[in-house]
Amino acid sequence: LAKTTQPISMDSYEGQEVNITCSHNNIATNDYITWYQQFPSQGPRFIIQGYKTKVTNEVASLFIPADRKSSTLSLPRVSLSDTAVYYCLVGSYNFNKFYFGSGTKLNVKP
């Protein structure tokens, strides 16, 4: 299974763009990359998913280089409510098991 590595924590200010990078050097051909957000005492919430290149939705963008060994979650103009833990998940759909890494604790300051 592809192991993921993320920064433990990041600080930002309201209104800034935040980029969180995840390394997944041994990602397999069939693996997808998914990002989740988790607030205290809540379940992980799906943000965005991609396989290659760039994906954008109403809340975030996901950049995946050609070698797929890393991915970057981009949150435009963060607010205080974006303070949460962000997890990168590389999904093994062949084996139907998905492991979370340690996540990145994002702290947005006023």
Partner: protein, 114 residues
């Protein structure tokens, strides 16, 4: 938007007792999962379930744990003889059948073993 629901939100039990945590996955989903999160730690995979049988399980999922889909809507996790170290948030998740379909999580059951 359809969501995964879990009951109860909080369960307190005494050590050695059996508990059953319940989940209602999203209705057209085919794959089901249980995860746990000990306070302050990361989310840990326990088990995946498809076509009425376990697909994969982690080393955490030992003989004291079992899962069941007793009817067409519920998905349960049973812990046979709870230990203090079983105290954690337990999250249920489900996903659809298309390749790459993401997991959708419930808001969890907080299990406290005293």
């Amino acid at each position: 938007e359809p969501e995964v629901t879990q009951t109860p939100s909080h369960q307190v039990t005494q050590m050695g007792q059996e508990v059953i945590l319940r989940c209602v996955p999203i209705s057209n989903h085919l794959y089901f999962y249980w995860y746990r999160q000990i306070l302050g730690q990361k989310v840990e995979f326990l088990v995946s379930f498809y076509n009425n049988e376990i697909s994969e399980k982690s080393e955490i999922f030992d003989d004291q744990f079992s899962v069941e889909r007793p009817d067409g809507s519920n998905f349960t996790l049973k812990i046979r003889s709870t230990k203090l170290e079983d105290s954690a948030m337990y999250f249920c998740a489900s996903r659809g059948g298309l390749p790459g379909a993401p997991l959708h999580f419930g808001n969890g059951t907080r299990l406290t073993v005293t």
